[in-house]
């Protein structure tokens, strides 16, 4: 297995005194499902956004597919971004447009400016969109406006928009934080499937430790902008959880032992 993504000594400083990330190192293999866990404000979102340079890291290097993302010029950066899909907590769909239009937005990066502006998509692209929406169980909603959908359905449209890019990697920023447990399970199952069946690397920011332990191949624990745990979910101990969240594991509202047992 080769490393698709390598993050080496990455730091990010906001202003002069707030350090969001300090010397972060990890690597992600092709097709792996990796969860990043940690308390709010630990730098999880910043870390994720540094990878596709929605935020520019202050120092360090990020190697994606043997390219250093940090040095890319605007045009090459856009090319890299087309290979990285992104999913958001608040779905970030264009509410006034239909589900299929929102899905096709994932293709904008590969189109010419004019075709993108006018919204001209080829028959192939449309078929692909319909197929993806079918796989995600959104057949009936193709022509509905995005704001008429439930949260879980919106998030599936978000996934569809990322998948149509034909990405090598998905970055998911708290994909289930605004969803009820049922929809959250559907979304996580879809993401897991994407990783195993399509071989797409998935990098997820999560608040739910139990969910992270259940679904991931690898856990990265972040606290105060530093990686404090990096390893398999099987080996994680109460002490590790305590290190990540800075509290007694017993105080947290889940049971580590129970999850390992199941």
């Amino acid at each position: 297995m080769t490393a698709l993504l390598e993050v080496n000594h990455v730091s990010k400083q906001f202003g002069s005194d707030t350090k969001a990330l300090s010397d972060v190192n990890f690597s992600v293999n092709e097709g792996e499902f990796v969860s990043i866990i940690g308390p709010s404000g630990a730098g999880k979102s910043t870390l994720l956004r540094c990878i596709n340079r929605m935020i520019d890291a202050t120092s360090g290097e990020i190697i994606f597919d043997n390219m250093n993302v940090m040095n890319l010029k605007k045009k090459d950066l856009k090319k890299v971004r087309t290979k990285i899909g992104m999913i958001f907590q608040h779905y970030n769909l264009v509410n006034r447009l239909s589900v299929i239009e929102n899905t096709l937005h994932g293709n904008l990066g590969k189109k010419s400016t004019l075709a993108g502006v006018l919204g001209l998509y080829s028959q192939e692209e449309k078929e692909q969109a319909v197929n993806i929406l079918h796989v995600l169980g959104l057949d009936e909603h193709i022509y509905k406006r995005a704001d008429q959908l439930s949260g879980g359905q919106k998030q599936r449209v978000g996934i569809a928009r990322a998948l149509i890019q034909d990405p090598r990697m998905l970055l998911c920023d708290e994909p289930i934080a605004s969803l009820d447990p049922n929809s959250a399970k559907i979304i996580m199952d879809h993401l897991r499937n994407i990783s195993t069946k399509l071989g797409i690397t998935v990098l997820v920011n999560l608040h739910q430790v139990d969910v992270a332990l259940k679904y991931s191949d690898k856990i990265i624990g972040v606290n105060h902008g530093q990686v404090v745990y990096n390893g398999s979910p099987k080996d994680i101990t109460k002490e590790d959880i305590q290190l990540i969240y800075g509290s007694e594991a017993e105080d947290l509202i889940f049971d580590v032992g129970g999850i390992h047992a199941s």
Partner: protein, 286 residues
């Protein structure tokens, strides 16, 4: 009994505060400013009424003859110096002037509005455009028309340029503010998929703010219709406004002014009705 005791003890607790008056509003700087402004305005109004020069005018008589004029204007309207079809045609000329200037203004304002929206450009460009547009907006439309009349001569050309100018400044503010309403996450999502600026504008920003844009443009069209009437009179731009000017200043025919006013009113109501219909449709389908 017990409840009574509790009540009395509660009263005792409140007592020291009761002696001191409890204010609901605290005296802040802004409330002081507002109050003193109101007081000054009141004093000025009183002074103005005292210091009016009535020129031996009997107020009662003046009011009565004003009513007589209004009665002649609105209850006995007639057309004397031109025909009904001519008036209708002139109303369409005025509407045309309003439409043209709104259209020009809207097209220019879309692009300037995009550059003026803080979430779509950098802060410097945005504040530069917003600043200059605020300056243009501060000067009334009529004045702009008269300024352009220096170069283009009094007439329809000056009116079109001047009204377009002011429409642009008005719509840039309206449009850029509705663009700024857009959730930044949507822009982020499209940026993350590699889309470029123009694609994001036309695929996310404009579709999201289309309803706002249309209702602002319609409002400006209504304003431009009113301004176009005034321009007909003040800048010789033609249309029903010019006929009104002739009726009042040349023929001194109050009744004809009444008739023209009814014309304008009918058109204004018609526009309002169309606008409401339009917006309803947009809300359902858009």
């Amino acid at each position: 009994m017990e409840a009574n005791e509790q009540l009395t003890s509660a009263k005792q607790l409140l007592d020291p505060q009761l002696q001191k008056k409890i204010r609901i509003k605290t005296l802040t700087k802004s409330s002081v400013v507002i109050r003193s402004t109101l007081i000054i305005l009141a004093l000025l109004s009183i002074y103005a009424f005292i210091s009016f020069d009535y020129k031996q005018l009997d107020v009662g008589e003046a009011v009565l003859s004003t009513f007589a004029n209004l009665k002649a204007m609105f209850l006995e309207p007639h057309l004397k110096h031109f025909t009904f079809t001519h008036a209708l045609y002139q109303v369409f000329v005025t509407l045309g002037l309003a439409f043209l200037t709104t259209l020009f203004g809207a097209i220019i304002a879309v692009f300037l509005g995009l550059l003026a929206a803080e979430n779509l450009t950098n802060k410097r460009v945005s504040s530069m455009i917003k600043g200059s547009v605020a300056f243009i907006r501060a000067v009334p439309t009529v004045l702009w028309v008269l300024i352009f009349a220096v170069a283009a001569g009094l007439g329809s050309v000056a009116a079109v340029i001047g009204m377009t100018f002011h429409s642009v400044s008005y719509l840039v503010k309206a449009y850029s503010e509705s663009f700024e309403e857009l959730d930044n996450g949507v822009i982020e999502a499209l940026q993350a998929s590699g889309a470029n600026w123009w694609q994001i504008i036309f695929q996310a920003v404009i579709p999201s703010s289309l309803t706002y844009m249309i209702s602002w443009t319609f409002l400006r069209f209504e304003i431009n219709f009113a301004v176009a009437i005034a321009m007909g009179a003040a800048a010789g731009a033609g249309g029903i406004g010019f006929d009104m000017f002739m009726a009042s200043n040349f023929y001194l025919d109050i009744r004809e002014i009444g008739a023209i006013t009814y014309f304008v009113l009918a058109i204004a109501i018609l526009l309002e009705m169309v606008a409401i219909r339009f917006k309803k449709k947009l809300k359902v389908n858009g």
